[in-house]
Symmetry: C2
Amino acid sequence: MEIAALGEFGLISRLTKDIELKNPETKRGAGDDCAVLAFDAGRQVLVTTDLLLEGVHFDLQYVPLKHLGYKSAMVNLSDIYAMNGRPRQMTVSLGLSNRFTVEDIEAFYEGLRLACEAHGCDIVGGDTSASLTGMTISITCIGDARPEDIVYRDGAKATDLICVSGDLGAAYMGLQLLEREKTVYNQQLREAQQRGEKPEDLPAFEPDFTGHEYLLERQLKPEARKDIIEALAKEGVRPTAMMDISDGLSSELFHICTQSHTGCRVYEERIPLDYQTASLAEELNMNVTTCALNGGEDYELLFTVPLTMHDRVAAIPGVKVIGHITKPELGLQLVCRDGVEMALKAQGWNPLKHEK
Amino acid sequence: MEIAALGEFGLISRLTKDIELKNPETKRGAGDDCAVLAFDAGRQVLVTTDLLLEGVHFDLQYVPLKHLGYKSAMVNLSDIYAMNGRPRQMTVSLGLSNRFTVEDIEAFYEGLRLACEAHGCDIVGGDTSASLTGMTISITCIGDARPEDIVYRDGAKATDLICVSGDLGAAYMGLQLLEREKTVYNQQLREAQQRGEKPEDLPAFEPDFTGHEYLLERQLKPEARKDIIEALAKEGVRPTAMMDISDGLSSELFHICTQSHTGCRVYEERIPLDYQTASLAEELNMNVTTCALNGGEDYELLFTVPLTMHDRVAAIPGVKVIGHITKPELGLQLVCRDGVEMALKAQGWNPLKHEK
């Protein structure tokens, strides 16, 4: 069905009509000039927002819309957990061109709702608009926390342990894989067109993802680490500084050290890697440590804890101590496998630069 | 200066470095995974969001970036006032292509900050990204209010008076004017090119806006009606239903009546019009009432009050009673100047349809 057949109000009403509001903090959802929220006395409100643009942050040639909805929600949920908070509400704004059908947008919303339900987050409004060009997704997520529980980026102290959850670099390798198969597919298309064949007459393209399923999942279906936040609370560990790894470990270490006025020492051999990440990096002749340091989109948590908490964090499955915080004059150092020390650089992810 | 020279983090830091946080409710602004807010006990939180896309919501050929920043903030502030709330914080996400310079974005932020300062609103974060195509603006505004003060769309009762602030249709006529002058300019450009002249050799284009300054101002620099909200509070009037007029009076009456399960009777002769609106409508051979009913972008307030409040609302400068709420079976009626009754239609603004 064409979106124009429903119009803006019709589309919004179709997408939001059976959304149940589950949190007692949500007094009103979509349908008025504003959503209305009421948080318990003594809780502070957390707000984060992310803008995702077609061609820059996602490629609809290989990202299914349901996955895109899921991931769009997750990247915002992850920011709430990175403050040691609890996500509660989300607003979703979409810019859509007329190449999308109502069913496409419903698929996007299905993914979005799946993510929100798993994390106890109500969808409370947004904005839907025509776009003359690509798809635009802008999500704002609201959470809450007790003030004494909130963890900022600026609380790391010298001798604190540096910890990460999960493993790093896999989402980036998943992206390499998708890009590789896209190139193969587009090449086949071009060759067929040169032979005068129609694209629809070609046999269905079978991308080769064998043995790399984990990498694809990390790229297409990341999970915000609610479980780690819960495990830390259970162990009675309040990190001194925390953030999520969206731009790559190097870049995030740079943020924490700059804002905390510290240095750090991270051990290459301790950076958690999945076997598939290492294996594909080797196949593609890439340095796996560089992928883990600068790849981004891991949505794992990077946090620091006092040295005395070592045994408690070591007991949490999926958390690894990768180094420690130092005095600022020591800088940001990576201790390589061969013992050589290198200064870390915050390359991160700079789409504004790549675009040049 | 090119944006790429600063990079994403550099640009954000340049735009946000001297933003002062003024509200006691803002605990942390930009610079962490989330902003952190703390509202007084007993206050509820209001959230609204708007997505503005180049080519759909604004045309950079005639909208200066400073005005665009100002207006982008205003359309969100207006939604907070429409709930009878007080704006407190704003997040600002921008998608930018490399045709923008750092100075362009600073001009946008200058307008944004001017609007926020006038309305006591802190800029607490956002997201800045490359865009492969046009400019994308996504703003979320957060406000607060005492629960008993919040006004929804669904509280109108039969016999309530229908009131609007300011005048209607002027922003729409301002748009017609800008579009007309754009056409003249583009025509001159084409003719010059056909004569083999370079655009830069043409004499500077002087658009003809004489006598229409108010219309331009309404289109380019709308003002959220904080003053009306304050006047209502001072007079001790709490509207039964309220919303801001962004899509046109008809469409907004439709929302209030549908959600309140009522009808309405609105008198054409009472719809407030500025002289310039009427004059340009005549010049362009348009029906001025249609412009006021369906034009949109007025950002005036539409609200209903109990009949007993008549004298109090009549005493507020800039508020006009235009009709009254009726039983639902009477429908939405416009009483024309000649006494004929017509059913109102919620044409409003449907860019998804126009796009077809």
